[in-house]
Amino acid sequence: MDQILSGETTVPVIAPQTVAQPKKTEPVSSLNFDAEEKLLENYTIESFGPQEIPTAMQIEGDTVDLTKMSATVCYAQVLDILSYPDNYLGKTITMGGLFSVYESPTTGDVYLACLIQDATACCANGIEFICKDAKNYPQDYPELGTNIKVVGTFETYMEDEYMYCRLKDATLEIVQEN
């Protein structure tokens, strides 16, 4: 969050969000395109950091299953999702990775994410998610670093002038390692 406020990040990161009581604000990603366009007018490219304006690319299908991809493509796909979120709005995304939590030092809010590492495991990207069922952290969630599978609908939302990405109405499943 600090990196976003100082304009240092190049991609959206997980953002402040109370876990037990998800926000009831209207999500940007609904079929209300007028509202979406109005909100998009209010954010500048600085929220993504030094990056070009994405060009429209049609992603076929309504689902994106990252669990069926190799580590190399999966990492690149997550980066594509975070770099060009407009192409994935409303799509159902299935992803598997490591359970991660970020706690804001300023507000104390906790944000949950699924992290995916690249082939060499030196880089990781992730997407925030909010579970469909109201859950409390840490009681209702696995330990940090646990392999999980998350399925949710991709959306973006605005907070403090910045745009963030997350999976809403997500289901969380712990993946048993063989």
Partner: protein
């Protein structure tokens, strides 16, 4: 097999995979063309040296927050290439010593600058990606695609146009000079082209492995063919095929792209080496 084909079909539906294949092939093509000249002129390690310079320049560009790093990386690398390759025999530090000095110096400066001043949340990851090109080729934007395509296209066209002069300067520079060829200008031209190729190739295999794209295709082709033209053509085909195999294997099996391409080059070289031994030309 059908499972692999289905998976590939799924991957090809993603734009960033298609971009990676297009750019990968173009980079492989233009790096292999100049590789023959470099290997014959005993400048095989110049790729390593220049790629380290490019890494250093890229680090500075990142710290400065430049939107398009090429604006700094390309000129700095071109200037370094000119200094290393083109300056005359009167220079006090020559050949491999100059390359080594510039190589390690710029790499150290680059890493130091990244660590001390970087805005990145993951310096090690950024450095690793720049050095080894693990997924850089799969994260190209449309601008990167256009830029790499244009630069690669220019290199290929210039190589074809100046093929005869490159040939003469490669094999006997003194004779070419005596015959009236502008060898200094040709060497300058080759230095600039090599710098462009190195900068573009870093997207594919990273700084540390870029020499492989230059060396392996040329050496493999020389095991089997004798003439400059046949070695050049074979080198280009070899490089493109190995790069395609490397990218496809890496996306199918989740291996780092750069290393997989270099491994494919190595296996291809061994095959050509055996073929050369059998035909008695090694």
């Amino acid at each position: 097999m059908s499972e692999i084909l289905d998976k590939l079909q799924m991957y090809f539906s993603y734009p960033f995979v298609r971009y990676a294949l297009i750019v990968g092939v173009l980079i492989a093509l233009c790096s292999s063309l100049l590789g023959v000249t470099l290997v014959l002129k005993r400048f095989s390690f110049i790729g390593d040296g220049l790629s380290h310079v490019a890494f250093g320049a890229m680090s500075v560009a990142t710290v400065l927050g430049l939107t398009q790093e090429m604006l700094l990386v390309l000129p700095v690398t071109v200037i370094s290439a000119i200094l290393l390759l083109w300056t005359g025999s009167s220079k006090k530090i020559k050949g491999d010593a100059a390359v080594a000095m510039v190589s390690v110096g710029t790499m150290a400066i680059g890493y130091m600058v990244m660590n001390l001043s970087s805005n990145s949340v993951n310096v090690s990851g950024d450095v690793c990606t720049s050095l080894f090109g693990s997924t850089a080729i799969l994260t190209l934007s449309r601008t990167d695609l256009l830029l790499c395509s244009i630069l690669s296209g220019v290199v290929v066209v210039l190589f074809i146009l100046f093929y005869n002069r490159i040939f003469s300067v490669t094999f006997d520079e003194n004779f070419a000079k005596a015959a009236g060829a502008h060898t200094n200008a040709m060497n300058l031209f080759i230095a600039v082209i090599i710098a462009v190729i190195i900068v573009v190739s870093m997207k594919l295999v990273g700084s540390l492995l870029v020499s492989a794209l230059i060396i392996f295709p040329a050496l493999a082709a020389m095991r089997v063919f004798k003439s400059f033209l046949s070695v050049t053509i074979c080198s280009a085909v070899f490089s493109v095929v190995c790069t395609l195999i490397g990218i496809l294997v890496s996306i199918l099996y989740g291996t780092p792209v750069g290393s997989t391409i270099v491994c494919a080059d190595m296996i291809g070289f061994m095959v050509f080496f055996v073929l050369g031994l059998r035909s008695g030309k090694a």
